[in-house]
Symmetry: C2
Subunit: 506 residues, 2 copies
């Protein structure tokens, strides 16, 4: 029997014809990925940026088919999926630009010199790729955190090869995305094995244990993350595991902000909580609202919107069931009040939004569990001290958001102080969902948000799949082009002084 696919809108399941990858299949794929790595890593950067642009073009050309396939497997709306493809296309192009820029290589050259401890040799350093990288697709982003997503783009950009683990929730989308990328890569001259894909949970576990795999990128649940981390720990050679795992993303609204714009914030918060049926790792799952009349108005507005909302399909049965289980726990936790109960849709895995409310003094870890779906816990608070105490019960997150007026300088300072240690991105007067792909982005955060000090979104995500290598007193013939003396077109730190790539003028 082949791997099944289910339409979350109807709940109907059918076979895909895709077989789960066997252990022998995984070994063949990692062997090919290793062989391809030995070839591609030494190709010029211009070839690699061309490869990434070819992948972007390939995706863009098959957009309609990709979106249709993904919609049948995820139930996500067409505009959302279309934007996701655009994001992947843009991301490949941005990483191509980053390759051309060359700053990510962190090149440093220290010429031989006399130092306080004596004569010192010439040392040159740059970052080099690791080898085959395993990338686990996530359920909630069939493109941007799956086959053609950020982990794939950043690992390839660094000069690695990539083996994808298709997410079981969208096997056909994974297969089609892979075929599109693989065809584009082949046309761009990439050797077979530059990209590979495996299907099935067992194959994923085998992949993480494979000695040829040199790093793992994972976006998913804390529980699956722990299983994979346990496999990593049994390896003879440990490898980096970059896990983005769990996040409740606290959002704090000050008295000034709620007084000035309660309706706006209610609308923005509602959209952020329910967009993509709340199945985003950056969904604000807990919002702190002043216990005053303006706060009451915000809550009433949010409740009205939630009550009027149509159920949306969750991604799969497991997520729907887990959401209901966690919602039950949250509802029964301590002194939480249920303001809006999730309405169960008539077909498939559809659910409406849920809103809970609790007083700040009653917040415990029981009501701060992440519910992956359209649920928000509203915490009503009176003072900054109440707020701080309640925040202490919230697990560290990818993001933390503050809605405040500019003249609330005391509140802003106190909130930055309270939130910067427990998150990876501080959002002001906006919403954490919708993660910009850019140089300055950081999509990461303290445990249990992630287990790393790196980002999985934005240009510096490339650093995860590189290691430094130093050359001492190397003859020029032994040096990579980027480390030779003279102009190389990339920024470098030479004898301690950062130098820009020189711009060629006519």
């Amino acid at each position: 029997m082949s791997i099944p696919t289910t339409d979350p809108r109807s709940g109907e399941t059918r076979e895909t014809g895709i077989e789960a990858t066997t252990d022998a299949g995984v070994a063949a794929i990692t062997t090919a990925a290793h062989a391809a790595f030995l070839d591609v890593r030494d190709r010029p950067r211009a070839w690699r940026s061309g490869l990434l642009r070819a992948l972007a073009d390939g995706l863009d050309a098959r957009r309609t088919e990709l979106v249709e396939t993904a919609q049948a497997e995820t139930g996500l709306a067409t505009p959302r999926l279309d934007t996701e493809v655009t994001r992947c296309v843009m991301q490949f192009r941005m990483f191509a630009d980053a390759i051309d820029d060359g700053g990510y290589l962190e090149v440093a050259i220290d010429h031989a010199a006399t130092t306080p401890v004596g004569p010192a040799p010439d040392i040159r350093r740059m970052l080099v790729p690791l080898g085959p990288v395993a990338v686990f697709g996530a359920s909630n982003f069939p493109f941007a955190f799956s086959v053609p997503g950020g982990d794939t783009a950043s690992a390839l950009a660094g000069g690695n090869t990539v083996i994808l683990k298709a997410h079981g929730s969208h096997p056909l989308t994974s297969k089609l995305s892979f075929e599109v990328l693989d065809a584009a890569a082949t046309a761009a001259g990439a050797p077979a094995g530059t990209l590979g894909i495996v299907y099935g949970q067992a194959a994923g576990a085998t992949l993480v244990a494979d000695p040829r795999v040199t790093a793992v990128g994972f976006t998913g649940s804390l529980s699956t993350g722990r299983i994979l981390l346990d496999i990593i720990e049994t390896r003879e050679r440990p490898i980096p595991f970059y896990g983005e795992l769990s996040s409740v993303n606290p959002l704090v609204i000050t008295a000034g902000a709620v007084a000035a714009r309660s309706a706006d914030i209610a609308e923005g918060l509602f959209t952020s909580v329910t967009g993509s049926a709340g199945q985003l790792c950056t969904k604000p799952g807990i919002a702190f609202v002043p216990a005053d009349a303006a706060g009451d108005a915000l809550v009433a507005e949010l409740v009205a919107r939630a009550e009027a909302a149509a159920p949306q399909p969750l991604l799969n049965r497991r997520i729907r069931d887990a959401f209901e289980e966690i919602s039950d726990r949250l509802r029964g936790a301590g002194k939480a009040r249920e303001l809006v109960a999730a309405v169960v849709g008539e077909e498939g895995f559809a659910l409406g939004p849920a809103v809970l409310e609790i007083d700040a003094a009653d917040v415990t870890a029981d009501v701060t569990e992440e519910a992956f779906g359209p649920l928000v816990v509203l915490v009503r608070y009176r003072t900054l001290d109440d707020l701080r105490s309640a925040l202490a019960a919230v697990p560290d997150s990818l993001t933390a958001t503050v809605h405040a007026e500019d003249d609330e300088t005391t509140e802003i300072a106190a909130l930055v102080e309270a939130l910067r240690d427990v998150s990876g991105r501080l959002v002001f007067n906006g919403y954490p969902t919708g993660v910009r792909v850019s140089w300055a982005q950081h999509h990461g955060g303290p445990w249990p948000a992630t287990n790393t000090l790196h980002t999985s979104v934005g240009m510096s995500a490339i650093r995860r799949f590189l290691r430094p290598l130093a050359w001492q007193n190397a003859p020029e013939q032994a040096l990579p082009a980027e480390l030779r003396d003279g102009e190389t077109g990339i920024p470098r730190r030479v004898d301690g002084v950062l130098q820009l790539a020189r711009t060629l003028t006519a």
Copy 2:
């Protein structure tokens, strides 16, 4: 009974008056380190670079006393120890310069913009410190990898506070170094708790498990590293553990090089193998010598030097005993031939150098174990293929060294190809011992050399103790100075374009 100290030259042990730190003592120290962190992390960079320069000056001023104390506990020669203090002084000053430079913050600013996926918010990113960092001193560098060493300097430079675990092999040196640094820090206005120190193995384990500790820097044996990693895995919140663990550092001499300069290489190799009694993590423990007449001459010269060498004290009884045990294993392994047996000195823990020889075809993992002390295994090879097969049995290392003539282009290319994946630094026509502290240095390497993708020596070591944090649409008042618009005196990547700090002109 207090912690003992032993003079390795005589083997005599005496009490130090230093008590092992209790669990309560560790908790008090980490609590103070956390409190100090909340203060120092927000001080301006200029204050922190001043602090590091004050630590450099403090060390420099007490140099004589430090060296004398260390000599009595390590048996290392005065010039070596004096240079080590100089290295620490220089290192603090270089990290101070790096703080002033500000490039290590990796600042990126992306202004709000319209992108292919829609309007995107203003995002600003920089690296921020982690919190209290635990630093484990190493036996073989009583200064440079102990209390005033690179881990301490890089963690402090990043804005963290530091808790040292004194190495049991030099408690008095650790205590004195700590007092010197602590006094200098206090005079520079650092709060109590900026630096802390614990004594005893149990205290080290307690420290690694402490929830207030946010990262660990460790240089030591693979076995101790594994014990500490096991403790990390039991923590509720995992933290990064940067371990520099084990390294045999293969050195390859080509036919051309041995023909051109066998006596020079014999002298250099002998010095590198026996300097500091071979107790350096970068000691070349296995050298590949052509099986020809020039190779025979090199071996003969090396043997003559080893036979003439006086025994030198090893650092402590445990290291001496382990060295003898491993030497016995290597000597008995397969077809190894003992060319020079280690002479046992008359007093203390002194031992002379040992030289083993084996044919390339006979090399197995049995003869590639790291022997921490003055021992080298000479592997005699005939062809590049023999060499590559034998190299495959060598564990990955911090360094790999090639001695070759410039016109041996085929050999150089083949050796770079064979060695770059198994080491962190490629050394040409030199020796891996003597690690330059500079911007381009990389002191790291694949497992089991280290368990990280970072360096523990050189300016980029600071990256280990920083994490990214992003600000989205932040009002200026909420931004650190380095992230505000306008000139800040540091390099930044603004809207994707790297910009240098502008030089102020008159």
